[in-house]
Symmetry: C2
Subunit: 438 residues, 2 copies
């Protein structure tokens, strides 16, 4: 067996055996298969795809490239959530305390932001003192103690993915469904879950821009999860406008605090309760997803979610006083308002462009070693469907860089379309998929 | 413009501009574009192809990556031949002296053997003293003096191809028609030709195994040649059995000497005269290809081709006495005969397998730094369609390695199929294509 033969085989549309896939992944991870052969292989997979068995096999080889966390000694059904990422998507930070407060342990290993979408870790780290770099042993201790822990990838979990992702990122092979599936599922399976809820975004600000591709990805993710014996539910949700009103790290934490106090924006709460409800159901603490959603809402109303969040912040070395008094957080140097300029109804908002603009303000990374300004970002005062007057402020920007303000304002104004006629926004949660859908 | 954007663009099936193709080729040649991005790009080209304009642009960028030989000071229309390579294909060595003797200058830069096909340079170097490593200045001098020179690639001609070919060879991206076209045509255009004749092989022992693919390649080659203002004629020829009776470096030179004396095997001579005729026509020394073919035959009959070959050998430092008395050449240590084992008619011969077996005997390279035994190889006493008796010798093998003999005999016997019923062989020269065909 040689890498050349396996590249040719996939290139010609043939199915690879488990041994052949393991040969590629193992040798690549151990630096025995050069990047230039791997990138040719990845591009061949982009064009020829992989069937469910191959995708399962890819996921297993990636998973087994490193350590796999064993949470069996912690009682309960451990459930995590994964989102394919969107602009303003802060759901994890509201959902994790809700689900943990419902008695379902939440092992959550998250990523950082790159490109137009932010990362949960960056948002959490905007809380002074908050640490996400705990060891696996500490991660297990914290889940056992308070039912939840939110950390970043460790070098020993799925090293294959780290190497593959870096190569895919520079060779235009990110957007291949079997590779996305292997990457997401190997990381989730490595963190010690028993069940999984997925939020597969669709639309302009999403990773998968078309509905069909989003459904295809969701089905592959469910197929792999179920084959590993982990019940998996996926929601297809709309990412045609940013989620919630705030984009930027600390700004999003502020919005999460509001949400935990019961004052979250409608769209954020709809998705949060839906996903939390499914997690509470999969965690065995509700008889149906609907009941799970009711429990989720009660946990917010009762203040238990907020209390759990304070517990998380405290346990992960964060300064709780900023959660209790968010107004004391340092503000960005320049805060500038954008007026609508015309009356009417907001017809569309370009989530991708808004995400990219927030990066230009300091809220994200263009390169992986860029430093983030946690207090910068964008506040959307109006969302799709809302009526506006021409002199009304629709957006506020927060930045420390004076020279980017004018360009950012132009981009944001262009990213919002205003219509004379009333507009109905699209449904937010489009579809639920589970093992019966595949 | 970034490599990432151009990989994505080609991956998604869009046409690349001249500037974009030049960006890729120039940066790769100058080591500013890493191998892993180039291999992803090459695989994207494998799947999405390139139109005629892109292929032309690719060829031009490759051509301009190095020096271009200028033969304008040499009078006459300079014509070369290129073959996509086959087992036992020694046509260049018979054809070059014929065409030069007809008064058409032949600038011929050839390659070495790798895999199952031999290389013209290796065959020529089996003549004691023969040199193929002349500088471009010496190459020009020799063409001016005797009308022909046969040398190897120099490092300054088409460096882009050298680097690209090495990468394609290990990433399963050889078989992409635009890339093959760019590789062949950039090298031929760099050597100083005014016109070109192509021999595109098809069938089991060929680079392009299907007829349709061979025609597609021939058309692309013609399109590029004509766009560069170089009249180009292509023949599709059959490679279902080896060409001629001898395979192996000095064995093939022996067969060429016979051919130059007018005793060449029928199939070898048919292709040689057809291609020589086309070259003589393109070189302005005949009014039609048919007349060119007649001239080619006369030049063999009159002994002028043999005389020109002696002149070439002498000019390129070879020992003419071996051409005059080939029997004095050292023989391989082990010469072993293979009997048919059954009576009947030869139905098929697996040229690919015969080529690979000749490599195992010492006649070729498995790796690019392997050393060739010039006196080793295979002699086929019977070809497709010939009637044979079971105790008749059909093949003789020549090798210096005793331990490979038994395995080679088994492989060769298996590569020949014998039928009870008479067999008609396929037509050798299948089709002629020129600018009116594209």
């Amino acid at each position: 067996m040689t890498a050349y033969e396996l590249i040719s085989k996939k290139r010609d549309g043939h199915e690879l055996s488990d041994e052949e896939i393991a040969f590629i992944i193992d040798n690549f991870t151990q630096d025995n298969l050069p990047d230039y052969q791997m990138s040719a292989f990845l591009m061949a997979v982009f064009f020829q795809g992989m069937n469910d068995r191959e995708t399962m096999s890819l996921t297993r080889s990636m998973l087994e490239s490193g350590d796999i966390v064993d949470l069996n000694e912690i009682p309960g059904i451990k459930v995590d959530k994964h989102s394919t990422g969107g602009v303003g998507d802060k759901v994890s930070i509201v959902l994790a305390p809700i689900v943990a407060a419902a008695g379902v342990p939440v092992p959550m290993i998250s990523g950082r932001g790159l490109g137009h979408t932010g990362g949960t870790l960056d948002k959490l780290e905007s809380i002074p003192g908050f640490r996400v770099d705990y060891s696996i042993a500490e991660y297990k201790e914290k889940i056992a103690k308070i039912g939840v822990c939110l950390i970043g990838q460790t070098p020993t979990l799925v090293p294959a993915d780290k190497k593959m992702y870096a190569l895919r990122d520079v060779t235009a092979t990110i957007q291949a469904i079997p590779l996305i599936t292997g990457s997401i599922m190997s990381k989730k399976l490595a963190e010690g879950i028993d069940a999984l809820v997925l939020d597969v975004k669709t639309g302009k600000g999403a990773f998968m821009q078309t509905y069909d591709k989003s459904v295809e990805l969701a089905k592959k993710l469910i197929a792999v999860g179920e084959q590993f014996g982990k019940p998996t539910i996926a929601y297809i949700t709309n990412m045609n406008e940013p989620l919630g009103n705030k984009i930027g790290n600390w700004l999003e934490i502020e919005e999460c605090i509001d949400a935990l106090h019961g004052h979250g924006p409608e769209d954020l709460m709809e998705i949060t309760h839906q996903l939390s409800g499914a997690m509470i159901y999969l965690g065995g603490k509700a008889d149906s997803i609907e009941q799970g959603v009711s429990i989720s809402k009660e946990i917010i109303q009762s203040g238990k979610a907020y209390q759990k969040f304070l517990e998380i912040v405290d346990e992960q070395n964060g300064d709780m006083t900023y959660i209790q008094s968010p107004e004391k957080y340092k503000k960005a140097k320049f805060i500038s308002e954008i007026k609508a300029g015309q009356s009417g109804y907001i017809q569309s908002m370009d989530a991708l462009e808004i995400g990219l603009t927030s990066v230009s303000l300091g809220a994200g990374r263009q390169k992986s070693d860029d430093i983030i300004d946690p207090e910068t970002g964008i506040v959307l005062h109006k969302k799709i469907g809302r009526q506006i007057d021409s002199d009304e402020t629709i957006i506020t920007i927060h930045t420390n860089k004076e020279n980017v303000i004018e360009r950012a304002k132009q981009r944001l104004l262009k990213s919002v379309r205003i219509s004379d006629a009333p507009v109905n926004n699209d449904r937010l949660v489009i579809e639920k998929l589970d093992k019966n859908s595949i």
